[in-house]
Symmetry: D2
Subunit: 320 residues, 4 copies
């Protein structure tokens, strides 16, 4: 399909559900409002063994980091270390202490990260109807800060689509729907309940570290959820607060039906206010869930509180 | 006291307890080994109401960020936003989606952060006896990565020293000891148990936002815990896995007795392997604990998984 | 005067002379077109003694660098040096060579620099009538690149306004006009000829290094040339290709008559296409000119060829 | 040859000539001392037509920039531009002026640049015998600053080795000696005189822009001058102040005889104090020299005055 023939997301989604105004005109956290203390306690109650998993990927891995095409790899530099002390250029701390210090330059969405609700939009408005102009020079509304300040804590369910389809990793552009999620949940013996934090594994990010860059990024097309009005209704009615996956963009890169890029960023995040975290490391967690049969757990994520940020890196924690 | 007369930390601490080798020659997480599943479950069991608190400070706050003298303020820049789209310079995403994206330059210890165990040392060795040369160009051992990969999760107790001393904030260079912590705990009606994550509030970081820089940084001297052999023994015997405070360096900047800088970084972190997180925002949490009388809770922290990093920013989460 | 009462520069300058289109619709170097080979040779012919002066200021000076309020100081970091080799972390070059390497983060207009012709404008158009939208995300037209690719070489005259007024440095907001330049030239015994590169000393940047920051930047108001229709006509008729000064913005910060900020950036640079270099170190050169009575010379400047840049650092060279 | 069998540069060069101490124990500019006013005037006298050439390569070129393997590409970002003004997020300058501003992150040796004399060494000492420890954390001696402060101005000769060998570009690892330079000079009809600035064209950097990265960088091995005792004597006796080429490192990457990396960096720069500029754009200049038969000219270069820098970017200027 030619680029020009792709319909506008504002047209595709003109009848799609929206939560704008639902939590007042000043809301900046969207469906995180669903994560009440009751939901937090539901997460707590799902903990059984006390096993802990961290879901962030390495930043500055020697093999490179998986990153959306066009963003740059993070650069970390030592500012001071043992070498400076050996060369007589360390800090002369009374008592003789020595230290190492460093600095990083990184895209705020260049690793495991939360998107600000105002990070992606269609038309002239972002989440809750704020004019898109609030993004200029830094997000004055719907930035990552309110999400990070609140924290994302609740009861989560992991759906392992790769395992369900008997593959180590879903294929380039391979799609699935909410019905597939439900079928996989049934196969796993777990129930997706209202207000559950949804975590979906495709195997994609895990495959990065054993895939040459020229293959991983070639005709970049991630697997993932794909748009349909029914899928939107399901997320809406289920009051899903948060969607997290082990891909860079949480949905199939290009909607195979319309040709549009990232329609779910608009439909789920901008319209419904569902928070998204991306580039999660899910392989070890999935392995463990498959082993002990427990696919639900407490999820807690504290993205960095970047003032005006379009997103922020995060290392989410799962307690089973 | 003259700088030259300050005794060396290696001498001051020559009989101090060490946990080197306790968890094998390859250990990089130190006292986090104490945080077994049993400790995680003890944290889970302390949750009552489902209230959530995030302990990170803002990064890029308009009033500036509290930072150790000599480090630079973080710089965040938009790479793309609504302005680019208005000016015809946005990305031409099929379907008409638009996005905002940004980048940050920051000291990895320039905000609420975890220190790598190898970040500070005295003599020629860092935690577990690794030669200090492992820090050159990036920490090849005892970096932040293993701490971040494991995550810091357990049962925590907040001790509010400022409140105990009836002050909004402790004074410049004001010190306290483990005995003061115990007295404050008693006054709060909470018990510090073996393997508890210890969080101490001084009011210092909270005061930053209402204090002019020229006052906050003048003759920079933070309040905090101060060294004594008895204090070391207490931390050692209590198997405290982690110390977190609302100061930049978790201890009084200069030991008033010896004149040495940061002896507890050496005695607790480098020798015992106790992890440290610093620059926490504790005022709201303390307010709530004082109100409901619950000073213990589940603490979970996922510093960013910076490869070879000397530390990493973090936004810890407390669930009460 | 209230901010709201300040007239628009587009109104103030509605009858001001413009060189748009003079060198064709695709021109990006403006009055540098005046610097023909004949002008270069005129510069060459002014050389007498072979003395050389460099006009850049230090970048990363321990006392800080003079910079427009709001821009950040440059940060330079060693990536590798002797310390790494001592610590066994250097590069293992066959033959045993060792090296030091570094990196800089700097505002492209954060030191002695040339402005791109498209760097400053009023209304909807930049130099030569290009729509201001060409600046979005990087200057697609009238960037620093064409200026840097051409180079700025010609016959230059130094006018020392501070010396003319018997002051080490002009006062905060002190102004002067083309008539003052002419009077000073006469006092110096030098003639400003058509197509001369004009260099004006105020003493301002030189004073930075002995002035506390809180004084230098307080109510920031640099001395400099001030707008009048007559001044514009003089620059226009004299076909001045380039204006360089030892201030950060080459003109009095606020026009005392209208209250407008930087009218000459619009009138001289955007309308006439006169290139501007700023933050020059002129004290040593002026001292020498006063001593030997030679106030004209060959000037050559090669700003860095930054693709799409709004400006670029430079270290101009004078040969007398 | 195995890496271990490569002899040490300190052994290879143990009898090589050195200029240490020749200009006093505090010298930091080495052979630039040869560039007296007389040499500057000799350069001036070689100017005939007034043609100007700039020798810097683009920084941030859309096709990438040629860079030593391991260094990172420069990143330039707009901080503010027309988009911000359209979105209502510009600066509210009285009078309505608008501006574009940007920032760069770059390796200081990541483009056309001058090496500091202390940038590369063998053994324990850099230029003039300063201990290599002066490089730790920033070059305290023999940094780029003194070179930049002095400027590099003199009479230069271009030797076009590619043209002499009838090739568009020399081959991977292709070498030449001072005798080849002399033969090429003779063929060009130009004489290399004592104290001439030497500029050598190989075609290498010019080829970068039409060569895929995987070819350009594969088994990275640049063509260039190659070490011999006779070559050192020639440079020494000719009092060559400066060597500039259109390669990244000014000499064949690996000495084919010894297997050592960059012996001339040690022999010419560290031992003799000859300044080096690298990554020059020489194709247009060479084309012009071939056309008019004038291969000598005035050369002036003003590297940025980076405090403590290991090198600095530069855009040299040639006037014929």
């Amino acid at each position: 399909m030619n680029h020009e023939e792709v319909p506008l997301l504002t047209d595709i989604l003109k009848d799609a559900p929206k939560n704008w105004g639902k939590w007042g005109p000043d809301d900046e956290v969207g469906c995180l409002n669903y994560l009440t203390s009751a939901e937090v306690l539901r997460g707590i109650q799902s903990v059984r063994s006390g096993k802990v998993f961290t879901l962030g990927v390495p930043i500055g891995h020697p093999d490179g980091d998986p990153i959306w095409p066009g963003r740059r790899q993070a650069q970390r530099f030592n500012i001071r270390d043992r070498g400076d002390y050996l060369a007589g250029a360390g800090v002369n701390y009374p008592g003789g202490g020595q230290d190492a210090d460093d600095l990083i330059i990184m895209a705020l969405q260049g690793s495991t990260q939360y998107d600000a609700l105002g990070h992606f939009w269609a038309g002239d408005q972002v989440w809750n109807g704020y004019p898109a102009e609030i993004t200029a020079g830094g997000l004055k509304k719907a930035s990552i800060f309110p999400l990070a300040d609140k924290g994302i804590v609740g009861h989560a369910v992991l759906i392992d689509m790769a395992r369900f389809r008997n593959k180590p990793v879903l294929g380039r552009g391979e799609t699935f729907t909410h019905l597939d999620l439900l079928a996989a949940a049934q196969a796993q013996g777990v129930t997706i309940s209202k207000r559950d934090i949804l975590i979906v594994r495709t195997g994609w990010i895990g495959s990065y570290y054993s895939t040459p860059d020229e293959v991983f990024y070639k005709d970049f097309l991630e697997p993932g959820l794909t748009y349909s009005p029914e899928l939107l209704n399901w997320f809406h009615e289920m009051e899903i607060p948060n969607l997290s996956t082990d891909t860079i963009a949480n949905e199939v890169t290009v909607d195979p039906e319309s040709g549009a890029i990232l329609p779910l960023h608009v439909a789920l995040m901008r319209n419904l206010g569902i928070t998204m975290s991306e580039i999660l490391a899910l392989d070890k967690l999935a392995e463990d869930c498959a082993a002990d049969g427990q696919w639900d757990f407490l999820y807690s994520a504290g993205p960095l509180k970047i003032w005006n940020g379009t997103g922020a890196p995060v290392n989410p924690i799962v307690i089973k």
